[in-house]
């Protein structure tokens, strides 16, 4: 048995089996959630490459799996990332069960995760681009439920992700073609630009992000939330891994400056657009852009605290997006429109979902006592120390997003003239209350949670040791 079989082949195989059993949605979602939870626990407790004794039997989980002459390698350094990814998936699949997601959600969700972990494990790096594209293709049935017509948001998602792949492959060819010292120095900056363009298209970086609000508006928020939670996080980690492996990129201060300024631009533009949004599901898209902006801003600091804040920011990001997606799904499943003209009485019909939505959005905008506050404060302090003249622009972007959230709050608290019936189910309330509890717990006890998640940075050891 090897680690890639356990964390790539098994979820992929189970995903295919669940696709066959897709009509039994409870079974498919239950198995997907159970398997993800088991794989997260195994990633937490099972060391890779060491002999373990269970009773009289010895088990060794090998690091490598060879396929057509290429290797898939998962080491102990990747285990924290596996824990985060599979634990997140388990939560999303349980939520999918309660929110009655369509029959492709669980099978294709598992296959997407298997492809993303495969992208992370494959050596050399250039094959990762192909596996990310496979993950994108597998997420199409997840985003477009059977029986619904495809919308422009999903089409643009596919176009932009597919356009990104060639850039990564080309850059991978330059940086992976032997000793970097022997490559023409004039080629390296061009290759870095190509690499940057590829990641910009994948991550939906300014100005390539207009498909994100379209996607969140036109597709089911739960499916969109699942894809927009896991895909950008995996791509960000892949990017860190790649930069960590290439000494020339690691040492380039210009690269990190560009990443930082791009992050800043994303925060500003997302904030300004969010301030004028009249549709909550589009605001969800801008929340994703804002989160990616902050992630890039932290990475661009190019210091150990900056990378640690980036890693710590993953938990509030994943939690916030989950609560927003769940709340919006509750509205959508009950036929509740989310534009500002149709929000009167929504608080009476969906009190828990409305509170969850507002709290999660406030958390993303960095409100004190909520999960996002400690990491926002830290990243802003670090950024202000490094570039005091630019911090005002980041504040402006954050303020814009906050104004957008306050406008949502002002509209959702408008009460209806007559008594409204509550439309949330108990399952939906429980999952939303659980999310809200963690939003507060992360905010009150940040050290407890964030110290555990920063081990995720082990995937890029060279990047950290150089700082």
């Amino acid at each position: 048995m090897s680690a890639p079989i356990l964390w790539i082949i098994i979820p992929l195989g189970v995903g295919v089996i669940l696709w066959v059993l897709r009509r039994r949605r409870w079974l498919a979602s239950g198995v997907a959630a159970g398997l993800s939870a088991i794989l997260a626990i195994l990633a937490a407790v099972l060391p890779i490459g060491e002999v373990i004794r269970i009773g009289g039997t010895q088990i060794e989980l090998a690091e490598s799996l060879f396929v057509l002459g290429r290797s898939f390698i998962l080491t102990n350094n990747e285990r924290p990332f596996l824990v985060v990814v599979f634990a997140t998936c388990a939560v999303w699949f349980v939520g999918g069960l309660i929110l009655q997601q369509h029959r492709f959600f669980a099978p294709f969700g598992l296959m997407v995760i298997a492809a993303l972990i495969g992208a992370f494990a494959v050596q050399p790096f250039l094959y990762a681009a192909l596996l990310v594209e496979l993950a994108v293709l597998l997420s199409i049935p997840l985003l477009v439920p059977p029986g619904e017509a495809v919308q422009s948001g999903v089409q643009r998602f596919l176009i932009f992700q597919t356009l990104g792949m060639p850039f990564i492959l080309l850059a991978g060819w330059v940086f992976g073609s032997g000793d970097i010292a022997q490559i023409d120095p004039a080629i390296l900056p061009r290759a870095a630009i190509v690499l940057g363009l590829g990641f910009a298209l994948w991550l939906g970086v300014f100005p390539f992000y207009f498909w994100i609000p379209q996607l969140t508006k036109q597709t089911h928020p739960y499916s969109a939330g699942f894809v927009l939670s896991l895909l950008p996080v995996s791509i960000l980690m892949l990017g860190l891994d790649f930069v960590s492996q290439i000494g020339w990129l690691r040492a380039s201060s210009t690269l990190f400056l560009i990443i930082q300024l791009t992050g800043m631009l994303m925060i500003i533009t997302a904030g300004v657009w969010a301030a004028f949004q009249d549709e909550i599901s589009r605001l969800f898209g801008y929340a994703v852009i804002l989160e990616t902006g902050y992630a890039l801003l932290s990475i661009g600091l190019n210091t150990l605290p900056g990378f640690m804040v980036f890693a710590a920011g993953l938990l509030p990001r994943l939690l916030g997006l989950f609560v927003v997606a769940t709340a919006l799904s509750v509205f959508k499943n009950n036929g509740q429109l989310t534009d500002f003209d149709h929000l009167q009485g929504i608080f009476q019909r969906f009190p828990v979902a409305v509170i969850g939505l507002v709290l999660a959005l406030f958390s993303m905008s960095g409100m004190p006592l909520l999960a996002g506050f400690p990491v926002r404060l830290e990243v802003l302090e670090l950024f202000a120390a490094q570039r005091p003249l630019l911090i005002g622009w980041v504040f402006l972007g954050n303020l814009g997003f906050l104004i957008g959230v306050i406008r949502v709050l002002l509209h959702v608290v408008r009460l209806a003239d007559q008594t409204e019936q509550r439309m949330e189910s108990w399952g939906e309330r429980v999952i939303l209350l659980g999310g809200m509890l963690f939003l507060f717990l992360f905010g009150f006890l940040p050290g407890v949670f964030y110290q555990s998640v920063i081990f995720i940075l082990r995937v890029a050891p060279a990047l950290l040791t150089a700082r």
């Binding site: 594209e133 293709l137 477009v144 017509a149 597919t162 492959l169 080309l170 080629i187």
Partner: protein, 191 residues
């Protein structure tokens, strides 16, 4: 005229077919010609077997798309004469751009000239198709064209069996995703 000029001309003709005539039959014909051109050019730099993989996979992806469109039973919207003239002029401009940037591209990407220019023409043609339509069928054809252009250039740089296999899988996946785009509204609803 050099023998390698013929497949490049074939790629230009396929570009016109894909961009000017919007019916599914012309698109299928355009994709078929396009992959013959790709195969012809790639035979110079790849073993015949690997080049044939790209031809067969491309034809299969085109066939999947066309059969889905036929299954849908809806005619694709057509464009008028002025629209065709505009599209034709845009593609002519695109081909000129491809030949103009060829010397600069050759300085960076060490690939045989005819393969590089063929790849650039397909990249530009694919981008034009993507920019000029919102229809799932034509959009998928545009993505396949763009990817075929990139594959040609990339085959000159990396000739790994696994890369060819995975790119083939992605081509088929794009065909299936396009098919799903076309037919998703007709599938039985999930709830």
């Amino acid at each position: 005229m050099n023998l390698q000029t013929i497949p490049v001309l074939l790629l230009i003709v396929s570009g016109f077919l894909l961009l000017l005539f919007l019916g599914w039959r012309y698109t299928l014909l355009g994709l078929a010609l396009q992959y013959i051109g790709v195969f012809w050019l790639l035979v110079q730099i790849l073993p015949v077997g690997l080049a044939a993989v790209k031809l067969i996979v491309g034809w299969m992806a085109g066939a999947i798309l066309a059969s889905s469109q036929v299954s849908l039973g809806e005619e694709l919207p057509v464009t008028d004469l002025s629209g065709r003239i505009f599209r034709g002029l845009v593609l002519i401009f695109g081909v000129i751009v491809a030949f103009s940037i060829l010397p600069a591209a050759e300085g960076w990407i060490p690939v045989e000239g005819s393969v590089l220019v063929g790849g650039l023409i397909l990249l530009i043609s694919g981008l034009l198709q993507l920019g000029l339509t919102g229809n799932p069928f034509r959009l998928s054809a545009g993505l396949l064209t763009f990817l075929a252009g990139f594959e040609m250039i990339y085959a000159g740089l990396v000739s790994s069996v696994l890369v060819v296999g995975l790119l083939g899988l992605i081509n088929l996946g794009l065909g299936l995703a396009g098919s799903y785009f076309i037919l998703s509204s007709t599938l039985e609803e999930s709830s």
